[in-house]
């Protein structure tokens, strides 16, 4: 293969890596939107908190003298998912549940307030500056001729793909097979009717926030390790990107969120390959606007039927 196509291949791999983590965050948005029809504005902050917890757990375990990498990562993953879910649940309880049934703008504003609050609370307690972690997983495979261009797939990227794939499979199984998953789908179809049929919709809504937060925490762990840096403001832009991914794929649809995340990640990586990397956000939002113009319900979304 020529040097140029190898370069593109490398960008494609990088794009898919980032894209799969966007997909993980986007699922949180899409599930919440699918059920209560609201943007969970504080979701990006949950992702950021997931990253912080990962860093804290890793630093704590290392100072305790535990060096085995798999053990550290698994403990970090479990703790991050648990803590982030707690935060997700608390956000729903404080900023959404008391406001259900009011004007649509009201919960959105309270969620924006929640997002500002969490950002600053983490900033005040953990410091507003970047926190860096030495690379935990290094190395990778290289393909191609070292003389002109080598395509590398780092172990970290492999971990990201693997974890994302396993998580998505588990989630799909949960949604399609389990009793709670069926309740989730029923709520997305018609919340009021599901309630009438004797399903505790409050529980289901809380559950979607918890699942979304747990997935965001996984993304926080993966991206935190991938970049090695975290600060209290990473949640905002990541949340925005993930929401873009969710809308791109058709909000409310889980496969759509995955597809949207991957497309967004690849688009960004390709943009960064040809233009200064600052413009990749511009292209991402430009893509969003273009898609919405020609397919307002997203790639895999169902067109909305207007009810009188």
């Amino acid at each position: 293969m020529s040097e140029f196509s190898l370069y593109l291949l490398q960008q494609l791999i990088n794009g898919l890596t980032i894209g799969s983590t966007y997909a993980l965050i986007a699922i949180g948005y899409t599930m919440v939107y699918g059920i209560i029809g609201m943007i969970n504005f504080a979701h990006g902050e949950i992702y950021m908190i997931g990253s912080y917890i990962t860093f804290i757990v890793i630093a704590g375990l290392m100072s305790m003298g535990i060096v085995s990498l798999p053990i550290i990562l698994i403990i970090a993953l479990v703790v991050a998912m648990f803590m982030a879910s707690t935060y997700g649940w608390a956000v729903e309880r404080v900023a959404y549940r008391p406001l259900r049934g009011t004007n649509r703008l009201i919960p959105l504003i309270s969620a924006i307030g929640m997002s500002i609050f969490l950002q600053n609370a983490v900033g005040i307690s953990q410091g507003f500056r970047d926190v860096a972690l030495p690379p935990m997983v290094s190395g990778g495979w290289a393909f191609g001729n070292p003389a002109d261009f080598e395509v590398t797939v780092s172990y970290m990227q492999v971990i990201i793909f693997a974890v994302t794939f396993v998580t998505m499979t588990l989630l799909t199984l949960f949604i399609s097979k389990s009793r709670m998953g069926r309740a989730c789908r029923a709520c997305a179809e018609d919340l009021g009717m599901t309630n009438l049929l004797g399903i505790n919709t409050n529980k289901v809504i809380a559950l979607t926030f918890i699942i979304g937060a747990a997935l965001a925490a996984i993304a926080g762990l993966l991206l935190g390790l991938y970049y090695g840096v975290v600060n209290p403001f990473v949640g905002f832009i990541a949340g925005l990107k993930a929401f873009t991914a969710a809308v791109l794929g058709g909000i409310g649809s889980i496969p759509g969120a995955v597809l949207g995340g991957l497309i967004l990640g690849v688009t960004e990586a390709m943009t960064a390959a040809f233009f200064p990397s600052e413009y990749k956000d511009v292209v991402a939002f430009g893509l969003l606007i273009t898609i919405l113009l020609f397919r307002p319900s997203g790639l895999l979304g169902k067109p909305e039927i207007e009810k009188v």
């Binding site: 009201i106 600053n120 005040i124 929401f243 511009v282 606007i289």
Partner: protein, 420 residues
């Protein structure tokens, strides 16, 4: 029932403990070469314990606390105002009085408070502009700050490169922001509410990124400095006139001693003038068919369409007018600051403006003015806890939405109810 309550309280206390662990319990220590974790001090654990106790007790005694709160009478502003008939005759006098007080006031107070008042007036303008879009037309715009930035940069660039004066640039800035609003609104206004929110949010980011990176024109992150201040019919407010041979300064012309507070007061008066213009225009518009159409569209889109209203044209007019108000405010902002950079136009500004509109009670102009005053003066008062300022701001937004979702002054709309 009591055991249930007890269980709830324990559960809430446990959640609080988990939440507090990250925020206060542990801290990442970056001072060494290796990342380490520090535990909290005893004092901090006491705080956490106190917080948990409060949550536990408040959950245990929710009913009693609720009953206590219900005993506090809720003040209602509408009952404090005189009757409508009296109000109609009083109103012009009240407005005239308010304007007179606003004009005389700056001559009696310190420079700092006049400056703060000018800032408040800018936020009032922005709030009124966003109110057209969000409050009246019901379109959720999360990137309002983009139009503010467009207005500010239009004036800054025109004055920098072409030396145009503030008064010429003011309408141009408003027009430019309106043009951007039109270009963005034309394709996206067909979208549903939440999509619109996210597209405008993205647009706000695009504008900020472009301003940050288009270094040749906008100066990039370092911004534009030395923007010309407004003049009074050509009279400058500097110590020495800069504008060539026949330029004069304000204090020379009137044979006064030079004082920098003239400039501050002058800017304040311009702001008052601009706010009055904006309020007047919006008030007129609200009573025109187009204004009625905005509100009708917000209430029921399908009904409006079946009555033959052009949905796109109505939404677009609201969006464009809101944007032009932001452009107006932006031009004034850059003239007042004399320096602008993309830092001033971040998302948090959009959130603050939106919070002003919602806090004021969507659609109510008096409410928005009050909310803008609250939102700009409260952070100034909280200067001492500057670290906690944004934290408190976020918390306030959540609490306000829970306790007064209709805003400080809810809008009163004339309504007729069919009694059966």
């Amino acid at each position: 029932m009591t055991t249930n309550k007890f269980y709830n309280a324990i559960f809430a206390a446990g959640i609080t403990l988990i939440l507090a662990c990250l925020m206060i319990g542990v801290k990442l220590d970056t001072s060494g070469t290796q990342l380490a974790v520090k535990g909290a001090t005893t004092a901090q654990w006491t705080w956490i314990g106190g917080g948990i106790a409060i949550v536990f007790l408040s959950q245990l005694f929710t009913n009693q606390i609720d009953a206590l709160f219900r005993m506090i009478p809720k003040p209602s502003i509408s009952t404090m105002l005189p009757e409508e008939k009296k109000m109609a005759t009083l109103k012009p006098w009240l407005i005239a009085g308010a304007i007179v007080i606003m004009v005389i006031w700056p001559f009696m107070v310190s420079r700092g408070s006049v400056d703060l008042a000018t800032l408040t007036l800018i936020y009032i303008m922005l709030g009124l502009g966003l109110n057209i879009v969000v409050g009246l037309a019901g379109l959720l715009d999360l990137g309002f700050v983009a139009f503010y930035a467009v207005g500010a940069y239009t004036y800054a660039l025109l004055s920098q490169y072409f030396g145009l004066s503030f008064w010429v640039c003011l309408p141009i800035s408003a027009g430019m922001a309106a043009l951007f609003g039109f270009i963005l609104g034309f394709p996206v206004l067909r979208l549903r509410g939440d999509y619109l929110a996210i597209v405008t949010l993205g647009f706000g980011e695009i504008i900020r990124i472009l301003l940050n990176n288009w270094t040749e024109v906008t100066g990039g992150p370092s911004g534009i400095s030395g923007i010309a201040k407004p003049t009074l019919f050509g009279l400058e407010f500097t110590r020495k006139a800069k504008g060539g041979e026949d330029a004069m300064t304000f204090h020379d012309y009137f044979n006064l001693d030079y004082s920098s507070s003239y400039k501050v007061i002058f800017l304040y008066l311009i702001a008052i003038l601009l706010v009055c213009i904006v309020i007047y225009v919006i008030n007129r518009l609200m009573r025109m068919p187009i204004g009625r159409a905005w509100e009708a569209l917000r209430e029921d889109e399908i009904a409006c369409r079946s009555l033959g209203l052009n949905r796109t044209a109505i939404k677009l007019s609201a969006f464009t007018l809101g944007a032009s108000t932001a452009g107006f405010a932006g031009a004034f902002f850059s003239a007042r600051q004399g320096f602008i950079s993309p830092e001033s136009f971040i998302f948090i500004e959009s959130a603050i403006i939106l919070a002003i509109v919602v806090l004021g009670g969507m659609g109510s102009q008096m409410g928005i003015i009050l909310a803008a005053i609250v939102m700009t003066i409260l952070p100034e008062l909280a200067r001492e806890f500057s670290e906690y300022r944004m934290l408190l701001f976020g918390l306030l937004m959540v609490l306000m939405m829970r306790w007064r979702p209709d805003g400080l002054i809810p809008t009163k709309r004339p309504q007729l109810e069919l009694k059966q």
